[in-house]
């Protein structure tokens, strides 16, 4: 087919340096003033000798929904997990580059991953409310096990988190029931409430609705919209239509490299890169 496309720079804001040839280095141009939640600088992730993410640089805008799309195996989940150091759970991983969160590199030697994860929360593909705990205990576990004792505060957070996860009305009379007694979609919202309860600044979501039926999925997508008012949301999805519906910005990853990043409307209607267009229109995937 065609040779590897040269990277045509999108509209560049005056502040950003010109993109370098040979790297997947793209600017968050459309977001003007506010500082991005994450500034990823030349990030590479290695599992042993295998390079899962290759030299990615991108700025994730704050308080917006950014979707990460791409064919399976392209490294979306690895990239997402590197934002709160969750990929370190796999043995034999290392990274090169930097991930700046609120200006500080989260991979700096003195940084404690535990603290990072309190500020950057995560929701997983398969909902996993803790089976030995009730709904209320599930929501509050992050607070309680981290030393929060104030009963009144906990009760308040419980209601707030469940409200924000659009679950309060459905479970407010059943808070003592086991978390696993809820339906699939409700369980996922419970996990979202659990993640929100510790009041992170960012919510990372790894294919949060892929295990759910269409109605539950729609509820989750609606919820994501509301959540972005207060949190930066980064969502990985293999479902392009979902990315198109849900997100403000989209990053397209392919074989570990960032091919294109931009506003969702632009990516889906008028992508710059040929590969992006091929993926969007379904020529491969």
């Amino acid at each position: 087919m065609e040779s590897a496309a040269t990277i045509d720079p999108p509209m560049i804001s005056p502040v950003s340096p010109p993109p370098q040839r040979g790297t997947s280095h793209v600017q968050t141009s459309e977001v003007a003033s506010e500082r991005p939640a994450f500034e990823v600088e030349r990030l590479s992730i290695f599992y042993g000798d295998k390079k899962a993410i290759d030299d990615v640089s991108v700025g994730i805008p704050s308080k917006k929904i950014t979707a990460i799309i791409g064919p399976s195996g392209c490294g979306k989940s690895s990239f997402l997990r590197s934002l709160n150091r969750m990929h370190e759970l796999v043995p034999n991983t290392r990274i090169e580059g930097k991930v700046l969160f609120a200006g500080e590199d989260i991979y700096a030697p003195h940084v404690d991953p535990v603290v990072i994860r309190r500020r950057i929360g995560m929701v997983f593909q398969k909902s996993n409310p803790f089976p030995t705990m009730s709904i209320a205990e599930n929501v509050l576990v992050g607070l309680k096990l981290n030393g929060v004792r104030d009963r009144a505060f906990l009760r308040e957070r419980l209601e707030q988190s469940l409200r924000m996860a659009a679950l309060w009305d459905e479970v407010k009379d059943d808070l003592h029931k086991p978390g696993v007694s809820l339906s699939g979609g409700q369980q996922q919202r419970l996990c979202i409430a659990r993640a929100i309860a510790v009041e992170p600044e960012v919510l990372l979501m790894d294919e949060p609705a892929s295990a759910l039926d269409p109605i539950a999925t729609a509820k989750i997508e609606e919820l994501i919209h509301e959540l972005s008012a207060n949190y930066t949301v980064v969502i990985v999805t293999h479902n392009m239509q979902q990315a198109g519906r849900c997100s403000d910005y989209t990053a397209f990853l392919y074989l570990g490299r960032l091919i294109e990043f931009g506003s969702t409307t632009k990516i889906f209607s008028n992508p710059t890169e040929r590969k992006t267009e091929d993926y969007i229109t379904g020529r491969f995937g």
Partner: protein, 288 residues
Amino acid sequence: MKSKRRLRNNHLWRRTKSALASIVAFVCALLVIAPLALVLFHLLRSGASAVNWSFFTELPKPVGVAGGGMANAIAGSFELLGLAAVVGVPVGVFGGVYLAEYGTVRGNWLLRFVADVLNGVPSIIWGVVVYGLVVLCFKGFSAYAGGLALGFIMIPLIMRTTEEVLLLVPAGYREASLALGISRWKTIVHIVMKTALKGIVTAVLLALARVAGETAPLLFTAFGNRFWNHNLSEPIAALPLQIFSYAISPYDDWHRQAWAGALVLVVMIFLINLVVRFLTRERIAKVL
């Protein structure tokens, strides 16, 4: 035509062989179970009549005097099991935690190997070891020594079973907990171990059922006692010990009581196994 018949006969012969093999194997299975039936039958026949209220409440009577019971032996067994649990449960459970949650692939393989080999050490050797370690040092038999010997036997058992049970807890729970900013050790204790609690309890119960019937390690550690003993640094009676000394004695009345004691012991052990079966059946139903 002849070859067709030969082929058919050959096929018939092969089918017959297969059926015969099934029958032979079935008979073998029956032979394997037969001792169980025989032992249980005789336990009930010879033991049931001798199990009465006084058996559970009275002390052994002097030689030649009829009657008496094994109250102190039953109590002593419980005390020894308690001591054994104090030694075996913490070491076994937390050792199992290490194997499941930490460690290197090679290091853990080695530890598991050692634990499995340790499981094959004859129980009497543990008696000899604890004799040299404790009884000689403190110049006397004691419940502590007996409990220690039983505890040593429990350690590799509980360790391996706990590890297996913890590995069954899905990785997703650990991930979700760590993603909330909960530290590793709290994740293991409050999330993983709590989820696997039933399995850990069954591991401990199975180990207890196993050492409840052990006699050899107690022969020269706990040593046995014909009277009540509430001092753990003195020799203590135990049900299996009492059964043994009565069985090899020349007195008919003691033989009768040995059967009774054996029946009680078997019932105890089967009860524990039933409880374990009940606990694990619920788990399977939930998974299904």
